[in-house]
């Protein structure tokens, strides 16, 4: 029973990781850029939402809405101002650029909000839960998992069923040839980056609603998201969802065995997958995205 409970809680935790990983996976799949500031962008959104809701007294839904729209804009600016200048250069250049951005965001947040842990207060919903056959399921973690599944499903449908998605996949395959058939690769990249950063914002808000956040929490979120993406298979959206679940369950079950080593077990599972299936679990049945 304890084990089953741990698996259920692990899947719920996986929902958090999946949400963080979705944008990371999208951006790597299309732009071939590992955005090292992805976690920090999420934390930025979390603190912006906390500031608007608790500080400025905006209604929660409005605060979150404003933040998410703002994150889309920040994503577009990130591409226009930074990544568009590094495309075509060595991949390490964009990694270094986003690493710098990560340091800047983390420290700027600490400057403004201090190092105190904060949380986004959702009222009763934040702590409510239901008992399913003796296993307690929190409404908020369940909602976060649902949002993650919806986001990944929506992304998958947008990429496979729409004209925009075809242009994105064509650009991901071969940006030079995409331009030769009339696709504005730069604009496609800009929209994809905006979406990815918007997803990072959604993940950050969900994280701040579920637990305490500190300004420097970004890199640890990035690590879990990155592990989820790699476990599932780079560039595969369903793989990302699966990878997030595997990581969440590994950490949760690990904590049952030894309460202090849950995260360590997660890392070990990641290394095991990397050693035995370096292309990821869904490498063969790969959904290109």
């Amino acid at each position: 029973m304890r084990l089953l409970d741990a698996v259920v809680q692990g899947c719920l935790l996986g929902g958090q990781y999946a949400l963080f990983a979705a944008g990371l996976s999208l951006m790597f799949g299309v732009l071939k850029v590992v955005n090292l500031a992805h976690g920090d962008l999420g934390i930025l959104a979390a603190f912006a939402a906390i500031g608007l809701a608790a500080g400025a007294g905006l209604p929660l839904a409005l605060a979150v809405g404003v933040v998410l729209v703002g994150m889309l804009g920040i994503g577009a600016a990130l591409h226009a101002g930074l990544l568009a200048r590094t495309t075509g250069a060595l991949p390490q250049i964009s990694m270094i650029a986003t690493f710098g951005l990560s340091v800047v965001i983390g420290n700027a947040l600490q400057e403004v909000f201090s190092a105190d842990p904060r949380a986004l207060d959702l009222g009763w919903f934040g702590t409510a839960g239901v008992s399913l056959g003796g296993i307690s399921v929190g409404l908020l973690p369940a909602a976060v998992l649902a949002v993650a599944v919806l986001a990944l499903t929506g992304l998958h449908l947008a990429l496979t069923r729409t004209a925009f998605g075809r242009r994105v996949r064509a650009t991901a395959d071969d940006p030079g040839t995409a331009a030769l058939v009339g696709v504005d690769a730069r604009r496609t990249y800009l929209v994809v980056t905006a979406l990815a950063v918007g997803l990072a914002g959604l993940a950050g808000v969900a994280y701040a609603a579920s637990s305490l956040v500190t300004p420097l929490a970004g890199p640890s979120r990035l690590i879990f998201a990155f592990e989820a993406v790699v476990i599932g298979g780079l560039g595969s959206l369903w793989g990302t969802l699966l990878g997030a679940m595997v990581l969440g369950v590994a950490q949760s079950v690990g904590s049952v065995v030894d309460p202090s080593s849950g995260v360590l077990v997660g890392h070990l599972v990641f290394l095991m997958v990397l050693a035995t299936r370096p292309a990821g679990l869904l490498a063969r049945a790969r959904v290109r995205a």
């Binding site: 004209a163 925009f164 075809r166 242009r167 996949r169 064509a170 991901a172 395959d173 071969d174 030079g176 040839t177 995409a178 331009a179 030769l180 058939v181 009339g182 696709v183 504005d184 690769a185 290109r288």
Partner: protein, 249 residues
């Protein structure tokens, strides 16, 4: 009327000048074959016309409008489509998706941009009619096609933008002789449809049979520009290899 006019075009790859002061004019409906040895600048010239390589000097005019600095994706709307050497399909997209990516606006229903240039009236349905093999393979991933099927898809993908000028770069390269015949047979429908074509072809016989005009390039310069009826195979061969560019009497 001149559809395409290239004036004093110079294109460089880094330090190497691949196209040197080339002048070229193409009338609507004309089929021009660019002939020359490897490294003569044929592909470079096509890419500069399509906008994927920048012009160092000179101008490219389409229908009288200067498109020299227009990016490649806008030139597709303006009426120039390039079928690149090696097909360069999008391997993770199906055959039909490869075609649909080429449609301006991205969906099957959207019509092409109108700019007053004479076009062939191509769309996805007409391409599927003209290339029956594509209709049969429409849902297959492009990465799993044979060379000839890939080439048909690549030509179809360029046609769905309904170009006024179609640039074909080495469409027979790497294909079996039978597949080349099939590709050229299906090109007949394109050539008959009024689209102007500039094609690069290593096979001089094939170029002489297909084109209405032959332009020979040698080391980035135009050395011969003759109508097919005036073209003499021996002379073209000499221009191709650069042996004796002055015509012996």
């Amino acid at each position: 009327m001149t559809l395409l006019r290239v004036e004093g075009l110079v294109v460089r790859h880094g330090l190497l000048t691949a196209v040197r002061e080339v002048d070229l004019a193409v009338a609507p409906g004309e089929v021009v074959a660019l002939v020359g040895a490897n490294g003569a600048g044929k592909s470079t010239l096509l890419h500069a016309v399509a906008g994927s390589l920048p012009a160092a000097q000179g101008r490219v005019l389409l229908g009288g409008e200067d498109v020299t600095t227009m990016p490649a994706h806008q030139r597709v709307r303006a009426g120039i489509s390039l079928v690149p050497e090696g097909r360069r399909l999008f391997p993770s997209l199906s055959v039909l998706e490869n075609l649909l990516v080429g449609v301006p606006g991205g969906s099957r229903a959207a019509g092409p941009a109108t700019s007053g240039l004479p076009r062939g009236g191509w769309d996805v349905d007409r391409v599927l009619d003209a290339f029956p093999v594509l209709a049969r393979l429409r849902d297959r991933p492009a990465g799993l096609l044979s060379g000839g099927e890939q080439q048909a898809t690549a030509i179809g993908r360029a046609l769905v933008a309904d170009p006024a000028l179609l640039l074909l770069d080495e469409v027979s390269l790497g294909l079996s002789p039978a597949a080349v015949d099939v590709v050229y047979a299906s090109l007949e429908a394109v050539l008959a449809g009024g689209v102007a074509v500039v094609l690069v072809e290593q096979d001089i016989e094939r170029a002489l049979r297909t084109a209405t005009r032959i332009v020979c390039l040698l080391e980035g310069r135009v050395t011969r520009d003759v109508a097919r009826r005036d073209a003499d195979r021996a002379e073209i061969t000499r221009a191709y290899f650069g042996t004796g560019t002055e015509v012996p009497s």
